[in-house]
Amino acid sequence: MTVHVRTLDELLHAPLEADSDLTTQEYLVNMGPQHPIAHGSLRVVVRLDGETVKEVIPVPGYVHRGVEKMCEHLNYRQVIPYTDRLDYLSAIMNNWAVAKTVETAAGIETNDRIEVIRTIMAELQRLQSHALWWGVTGMDLGAYTAFLYGFREREIIGEIFEETIGARLTMNYIQPGGLMYDIKPDFAAKVKKLLPYLKDCVEQYETLLSGNVIFQERLRNVGIVDGARAVALGCTGPVVRASGVPLDLRATEPYGAYGKVQFNVVVGTVGDCWDRYYVRLEEMRESIRIIEQLIDGIPDGPYSTIRYNVELTLPEGIHYGQVETARGAFGVLIVSDGKREIPYRLHFRSPNFNNLWVVTAMAPGWRIADFISIQSSLDLVIPDIDR
């Protein structure tokens, strides 16, 4: 039995189909690694016939840093800052995934205060991430002003993070057994002041882009994927929810304070780019709703149940924990040998890596411009794909 291993060159230098009737030929173009739609450095080789996309070959790996290998040399606390640098727009939620895994495995208890603060922070980050995504989608489709409005809201939410956490992007906030800092006394008041503003912003987003006929035409019925296929392609998060599958870990396996609050899992019906767009807008409203329910009654208690310098050793075995980030299920799989305080093997289940490949099913048959809509509707963060 031999297994044939291919190379990219082999794939790209396969003969291109020439239409015999007309003197046209298909051609390959590289979208990336340096291309505005790459949103970082993802290379997508697109086989085109005129303007029509025939085939899409994503070639990730231009920011593959080997984090999983590095984590085999780091203890569990030191792993957390590295999760910031995967999906940096969901840094707090990624931290939470590691913290949750370690807490469950090592049997560390947390208290209500910690869980409520974690939930509020995670939802704020989801809002921030979606605002940023909204802006970037606008920019991808040519509406540059939308980009700046999205970033304005990101910055305003970011001020709260800066005040509480002291970082703007790479948070390293949620620690095993608690938080890095307690919240400031005026935290709740500031967040409460922010929420009506954010609601107003979502309405503005509706006016500026959702209500725009050009924007709607760019997204509607483009890149349809049905629920079963999306699940089989490993999609999670808004991508799979837009196809009508209410797969949301916050609701199906409640963690943190999600069990205590009322919120809806937003699902679409068609599974096109428009649904993916609108699911995120609705999720912003749901996030605001979740924060509204929690912000008034943050319980008292310590912000960390264990000391920082305590050694964390996990029992032998496989430990897995996952959270719902802004882009889907982020999971941490730790294989521990039970002896050392570093993992034997650590694997990140990244939502973006699994969401990426759905483009190969969505894009063929559409134009280059639709490929742009499709890729921005997936909301990919490239370092999370590559890890």
């Binding site: 606390r77 910031d84 005040e163 002291g166 209500g211 209410p246 809806n264 937003v266 609705e282």
Partner: protein, 271 residues
């Protein structure tokens, strides 16, 4: 909105659970005229929104950085720069009047006088660090290297040089959290741009010596003076002195005066 968007709440059985979902549905496509009408109104509403921002200068949120340097306040927790805590520093800073007087007496500018005072007053640089190395252990990527030495008075080891690599620091705050002595802190300084990256590796401590309380317990000023030794920002085992830290080219002409001799031993310790 051209096609009506409806968001309806319902309960749905999913993964063996009842999940409350908000389903986004769209209405039937309306007729041609209605589409044309709502397309035009949609475009106009967008234009109206942006025009509103154009006419309202109060909506401008720009903070003009280099112009607002004097008033720029970062939050107290902001992680922009690692620095030593110098408990005596504040008291020394308050001696502005003294400095002014000194400047007047020595006929120099105030900042020269301030430098003179700083040179003289080593008490300003007394620190909390014991050189225990917890921060070094906590650092995920070895951005901190604490060199210790045998103390003059103390039997324990005390900090000699606290080398921090700003060029590789990831500002995760682990060192500050791990420090049992509250000796280091993250501050909001961010104006660290350089032309040569070797300038980003430097000593955080200004004095090699024991923790502040050991020095201040000592009554005899001569002994006090002997307990500590000056350390420069770029003196010692930092790359400017001819060392190669991992992946950091050494300066071809190493500093000669005012710095300690380079020993191969120290180089080995670093790499």
């Amino acid at each position: 909105m051209i096609h009506a968007i409806k968001v309806a709440q319902e309960e749905r059985l999913f993964a063996g659970k009842s999940v409350s979902v908000a389903v986004i549905t769209r209405g039937r496509p309306p007729g041609y005229l209605r589409v044309a009408f709502s397309a035009v109104t949609g475009l106009l509403r967008g234009l109206w929104l942006t025009l509103g921002y154009l006419w309202s200068p109060e909506a401008i949120v720009t903070r003009q950085y280099p112009e607002n340097r004097a008033t720029l306040q970062l939050t107290e927790r902001f992680r922009g720069n690692l620095r030593f805590k110098f408990p005596n520093e504040k008291a020394q800073e308050d001696h502005a009047a003294f400095i002014e007087q000194l400047a007047h007496e020595t006929q120099t500018h105030a900042h020269v006088a301030a430098d003179l005072v700083r040179e003289e007053n080593e008490t300003r640089w007394y620190h909390n660090c014991t050189g225990c190395g917890k921060c070094q252990e906590a650092c995920p990527n070895a951005s901190i290297k604490v060199f210790t030495r045998q103390g003059e008075i103390l039997e324990d080891r005390e900090v000699d040089r606290f080398v921090w690599r700003l060029d590789s620091c990831m500002f995760c705050n682990a060192c500050v959290q791990a420090c049992p002595w509250d000796a280091i802190e993250m501050t909001g300084g961010f104006e660290n741009a350089v032309y040569d990256r070797r300038l980003l590796v430097y000593n955080l401590n200004r004095l090699a010596g024991p923790r502040i309380n050991y020095i201040e317990e000592e009554e005899n000023p001569d002994v006090r003076k002997r307990m500590v030794e000056r350390r420069d920002r770029y003196g010692g085992e930092v790359p400017l002195n001819g060392f190669a830290l991992p992946n950091l080219p050494p300066v071809t002409t190493p500093m000669e005066s005012g710095s300690r001799a380079i020993d191969a031993d120290a180089q080995a310790r670093l790499t």
